[in-house]
Symmetry: C2
Subunit: 360 residues, 2 copies
């Protein structure tokens, strides 16, 4: 069967950097091979650069972004702990579910979908939570929640941030912002196929690690003896070698370009879409001032059919965009320009295709 | 940096089939793309053939083999449930840990490492367990525990089997043997890089699914709406697209060869090693009659240095073998011939290298 080659302009996965794809061809090594361990160490060093952190425990969880979320909660939450969660989209809601399964008393700070959460509301929600958790870039709405104003004002509470759609696309300054626990996914602005969840944990959060979390697979006490061990590494589980090659190479591409340049490229692509989509009748949906450049959300022109439009984009142009989730299913599109996809040529391609579609 | 190209004769990962490696080059599709969903369906159909099952819920968990173990327990064990676990190696011990974290009352049936567990002891261990769990091929010892005698004699107890190192290398007949829950890994006898954990669940086990397991990421109630959904698929997490391409292609290679032929190839390679290693002073360690062809365990010749020997194999010959785990660290080697590695040429290569080493 012929292979379709899509331009991936949905909420992720994005098109991977060519360097990431090429790395898959690298011969598989064992997970205890010195050459593989050197590559893992270098990958983690590259991740520290992208997270802008000196955190010693910085590595990719061996599963997709949602497992990063689970690792972030289950290693720090014990039954009865209070967790404040900002909820203005699917992924904030998912945080509540994951935290509750760890036995947390969840205090949800709800905001209308499409609007950003006031950081002060998160700080005021409870006098002494164990964790304050919020999504940086809400993949379901295209909204950026501000993280910097939270940092260093959370007192004893750990600041936990979902950076799945932000890392590599807009600034994330884990140390400067006082982030304690954060996770991401490879398949968005890092420009690597899905399969790993980069995680970073501050030194103060390490002191709060749950001794024996309910998940064995995600147990950071055990995993750190492998990924962050000095000298001899303790086998925990078999690392997903080929995915690590891809991440290592994708991070190399991002850092060679330079993080600020990568952010500027995402911003320029988003600006172009934000400016021109309304001219075609697609109105920007996310709150002004909090719109993600890497993920543009729009309402559809009057009479424009969601499913038929997406099908035509996919079949005639080979372009994938994302539909709305939950309450805005059928009403909103999510248009990503992340990782290798965040190029002016792709913005122009989509705008040209949409212009044809709207006229048809 | 130059890429080292190892002959992977440890306990896994094995060398992948060329078809699996080639599939990584396939362009990434979105996880809701109709073409990707068709490939996922076909992958699951191929997995049913390899498991020899008609189970509707048969798919790869989006993480490595140990996450398959966790999914197998956390979706079926509720606090207070009794779980009988056969323990004659690392992976039986791990099962106890994972089950206990789900709140199980674990009844361990211990056997000496290197010996097989008497199935009757598992059946007699408790009058009414929720689950009887055992490892089919113990990766830490090279021992095969018999599964067929358990099947259909477990009463109301679900039969849960770890097939990480068995699937694709020796017979696994999930339906004929009355297996209710089983998981594997891609990086052993399936000849695919590590990263996914094929899982299969019988219809009667589906009725015993925990409604809201402690793991969100591994929640089979939610995942099945994506992987086994009819028509519209409910997004749960982003599937690891490229790893699924590799698995799909690797399974294609196995099924084109024919399962019995793949088993015979593993058997022939194991027979050669079992016959000739003792001639070099490496004595077979696993109990006779229960030796895995795909994973040979041997004690070392008198005066033979474990670490130096493995280093020489790796550096001079580019061959990886595995050391012993736990109580037999430093005393036992684990020599795999799995997946694409299970070829007569690799057995000859290793035997030739060892002959040089022993003489040196």
């Amino acid at each position: 069967m012929a292979y379709s080659d899509r331009v991936l302009m949905g909420p992720g996965p994005s098109n991977p950097y060519p360097e990431a794809m090429a790395a898959f061809a690298r011969p598989v090594l064992g997970h205890l091979d010195p050459e593989f361990l050197a590559l893992l160490d270098e990958t983690n060093e590259r991740l520290r650069a992208v997270w802008q952190t000196g955190n010693s425990l910085t590595f990719p969880i061996s599963a997709t972004g949602s497992a990063g979320m689970e690792a972030a909660f289950c290693n720090f939450v014990e039954p009865g702990d209070t967790v404040v969660v900002g909820v203005n989209g699917v992924f904030g809601s998912r945080m509540c579910d994951v935290a509750a399964r760890c036995g947390a008393e969840v205090v949800a700070v709800n905001e209308e979908w499409g609007r950003a959460i006031d950081p002060q509301r998160l700080l005021d929600a409870h006098p002494s939570p164990k964790i304050i958790a919020v999504v940086h870039a809400e993949t379901s709405t295209g909204v950026r929640n501000d993280i910097a104003p939270l940092g260093r004002h959370t007192g004893d509470a750990l600041l936990l941030v979902d950076c799945v759609t932000s890392l590599g696309g807009i600034e994330v300054a884990a140390d400067d912002w006082g982030i304690d626990i954060a996770y991401s996914g490879t398949q968005k602005c890092l420009g690597v196929p899905p399969g790993l969840a980069p995680l970073t944990v501050s030194e103060r959060a390490l002191e709060a690690l749950v001794e024996r979390p309910q998940s064995w697979y995600l147990d950071l006490n055990m995993i750190r003896a492998y990924v962050a061990g000095e000298g001899a590494r303790a086998y925990h589980h078999t690392a997903p070698i080929s995915m690590l090659y891809a991440l290592h190479a994708g991070l190399g591409a991002v850092l060679e370009e330079g993080l600020p340049n990568a952010w500027a490229r995402h911003q320029a692509c988003g600006d172009e879409l934000h400016t021109r989509l309304p001219e075609l009748g697609f109105e920007l949906w996310a709150q002004e001032g909090h719109r993600l450049p890497q993920l543009t959300t729009v309402t559809l022109p009057d009479g424009f059919d969601d499913a038929a439009g997406r099908r035509c984009l996919l079949e005639r142009y080979g372009i994938e965009v994302g539909g709305g989730l939950g309450p805005v299913a059928g009403k909103v599109w999510r248009i990503g320009a992340m990782g290798h996809t965040a190029r002016p040529r792709n913005a122009e391609m989509l705008l040209g295709a949409l212009e044809e579609l709207v006229k048809a």
